[in-house]
């Protein structure tokens, strides 16, 4: 297996006029292709910041991020957007479905920004079938349960066939039964499709079921 995500000496400092907060402090991390990694730690320790930096949603103050062997520093907005579109899929704790779009249209969103993309509807239907929501394609997000909404979010994350899925507390807003369903889904994406999954979680049981766990405290990786 090859390294698909490589973080070298990543630091992130948030600055306001009066306060400086170190969210990450010289973090080094290699994640192998096809690995299912859990990130754990108390609130405010930098887990989500780490995920945002891996997902190119935020830039590190210092350090180097490499995705699929490619350094991302210095890339322009357009190139970053393309890399996110082709390589990464996101699952958020609060689902972040677009309330004015149907389930199907929500899943199509990543394909809208892919050059030369065809069969968008067919691909979206396939992704919804994978998460067992083919019967809800025309529903609006407000008509879904939490578990269904998160499954739509997962369908959206995988519709573009990204090699990496980043999940920020994907079960944080779900009850235990729905959490179980979502975790099963993520595991199947990892095992059957070979996708690399990085998941932030507070749940030790869920973390233990993954290939590797890393812990964070005060912006630093602790073993």
């Amino acid at each position: 297996m090859s390294t698909i995500i490589k973080l070298s000496d990543i630091s992130k400092i948030y600055r306001t006029k009066t306060i400086e907060t170190q969210a990450l402090d010289k973090v080094n991390l290699d994640i192998e292709e096809g690995e299912f990694l859990s990130v754990m730690g108390p609130s405010g320790c930098g887990k989500s910041t780490l995920l945002n930096i891996i997902g190119l949603l935020d830039k590190p103050t210092t350090g180097i991020v490499e995705l699929c062997g490619r350094p991302t520093a210095g890339l322009k907005d357009k190139a970053l957007a393309r890399l996110r579109n082709e390589t990464l899929g996101f699952v958020f704790q609060s689902f972040h479905l677009i309330p004015t779009l149907s389930v199907l249209d929500n899943v199509i969103v990543p394909l809208m920004y892919r050059a030369g993309s065809r069969n968008n509807k067919k691909l979206a239907l396939e992704a919804l079938e994978k998460v067992e929501l083919s019967h809800r394609v025309n529903h609006m997000p407000s008509q879904l349960s939490g578990g269904q909404a998160q499954r739509v979010a997962i369908a959206r994350a995988i519709v573009g066939n990204p090699s990496i899925v980043l999940a920020d507390e994907p079960c944080g807003n779900l009850d235990s039964r729905m959490s179980g369903e979502i975790m099963d889904l993520l595991h199947s994406l990892n095992r059957e499709d070979g996708r690399t999954i990085v998941m932030v979680t507070h749940n030790e049981d869920q973390a233990r079921a993954t290939d590797r766990i890393i812990h964070f405290f005060d912006g630093r990786r602790v073993e």
Binding site: N52, G55, L57, D58, D77, K78, A81, R82, R84, N85, E86, G89, F90, F92, H96, I98, P99, T100, V109, P110, M112, Y113, R114, R156, G160
Partner: protein, 417 residues
């Protein structure tokens, strides 16, 4: 988006419609005054003598006014660059009496010469204009508009040879023409009769330049006309010792007359004119743009998370900006169409007070509001449509660009919070 955000879309469309309606009315008012519309199809070649000023230093007195028939005949018609010269006057308070017990009504009668019909392309449905011989002899002949013929006789057919009583004088109808709009300031009339049919016009003007006739000249060379007219003024002054004549750089082109509305004592102030019109346009553009911009800013803020999600999944700033602008353009164009319809309905239904307010009075005489109707070729003009469309696009860009760009510039993580 319109179905999903009915309230926002409805208010946005309404706001845009009002702005577009106001702009369209403004554009139509200008279009009517400067575009080739019935029967003033030769506006690009027409120029007007509005006033002549005669100064008598001996009596320390300056008088100004329209031209006399003698002045038109002896000086204006002789200008080498004038292809065709016509003089006319409008009387809006002429009393039309009926044979039966109907109450007399006030009508607009234009007293003109035969050249009037060479410059203004009136369409004759029956008969013909009065002849030169009839004009010269002061015969009581008149052409009548189709609407007026319908009103008096109930038909436009078989009215040739019948008589109408105008200010207690019988006129024989020689032709029926399709009526224009009182918005056509230099050509409108419900009756068009020879001005020599008026006793006061037959009287000798005593050599005075000043009279009652509005003069229009057909020519391709206005600059030469101006020089020639100034020279004619000097010639007149030389023949009348002690007088000075000032035509103040006339004749004015049709556009100058229409837009600048020159007043009795002042030359056209182009700077003020442009300043006023640009100010009106800016107010029409910026005020609704600011309102719509505020609405869009609020709407964009509520879409912050959506923008964050779209950016997360590969939406670049330009792609998202273009998406927001397109969405807005759909709303703006919908509002634009509603605005156009509102403007057309307003002008069609309330042309009287609306267009009279915007376009001003006709030759300084009082014309009833019902005559200020907008004909179809005035309303459905491609130029007006293009102006409204361009205005829609400008409004969209001005109102949506800044709030959209401001939200799109935010870091993704902030949008997702």
């Amino acid at each position: 988006m319109m179905r999903q955000n009915k309230l926002f879309s409805g208010i946005y469309i309404l706001g845009t419609a009002l702005a577009i309606a106001a702009t369209t009315i403004f554009a139509i008012a200008y279009y009517i005054r400067i575009a080739p519309v019935y029967p003033e199809y030769q506006r690009d070649r027409m120029s007007h003598i509005y006033q002549v000023y005669v100064n008598d230093p001996g009596q320390n007195f300056t008088s100004g006014g329209w031209l006399s028939a003698d002045a038109v005949k002896n000086y204006i018609s002789q200008l080498p660059s004038a292809e065709c010269v016509s003089a006319s006057m409008l009387r809006s308070g002429t009393s039309l009496e009926f044979d039966d017990d109907r109450t007399p009504v006030k009508v607009a009668v234009r007293y003109a010469d035969p050249n009037f019909f060479k410059i203004y392309s009136y369409e004759f449905l029956d008969g013909a204009p009065f002849t030169t011989a009839e004009f010269e002899s002061g015969a009581a002949r008149t052409a009548i508009s189709d609407r007026m013929a319908e009103k008096i006789f109930g038909t436009t057919r078989d009215v040739i040879g019948r008589t109408v009583s105008l200010d207690f004088k019988d006129y024989t109808i020689c032709g029926v023409f399709r009526e224009g709009s009182a918005l056509n300031q230099s050509s409108f009339g419900q009756f068009i009769a020879p001005y020599y049919a008026l006793p006061e016009m037959q009287a000798n003007s005593g050599g005075s330049l000043i009279g009652r006739l509005r003069t229009v000249i057909l020519s391709d060379d206005v600059e030469s006309l101006r020089n020639e007219l100034a020279e004619a003024g000097r010639k007149y002054a030389a023949e009348h010792e002690g007088l000075t004549v000032d035509f103040r750089n006339q004749p004015y082109t049709d556009v100058e007359m229409a837009l600048a509305n020159p007043s009795t004592n002042n030359d056209i102030d182009w700077v003020s004119l442009w300043r006023r019109n640009i100010l009106i346009l800016l107010v029409l553009l910026i005020v609704p743009a600011l309102n719509l911009s505020g609405m869009i800013a609020g709407r964009m803020d509520s879409r912050r998370a959506e923008i964050g999600v779209r950016k997360s999944f590969g939406g670049g700033r330009r792609a998202l900006l273009s998406q927001v602008l397109w969405e807005n353009l759909v709303l703006t164009i919908t509002g634009g169409i509603v605005g156009l319809v509102v403007a057309w309905l307003l002008i069609h239904g309330a042309a009287g007070w609306l267009l009279k307010c915007i376009c001003g009075s006709n030759e300084g005489v009082n014309i009833s509001a019902e005559m200020y109707r907008a004909t179809p070729d005035m309303l459905f003009a491609p130029t007006v449509f293009i102006c409204a469309f361009v205005f829609c696009v400008l409004l969209n860009i001005v109102s949506a660009l800044i709030p959209a760009w401001s939200v799109l510039r935010r870091p993704i993580v902030n949008s997702l919070k």
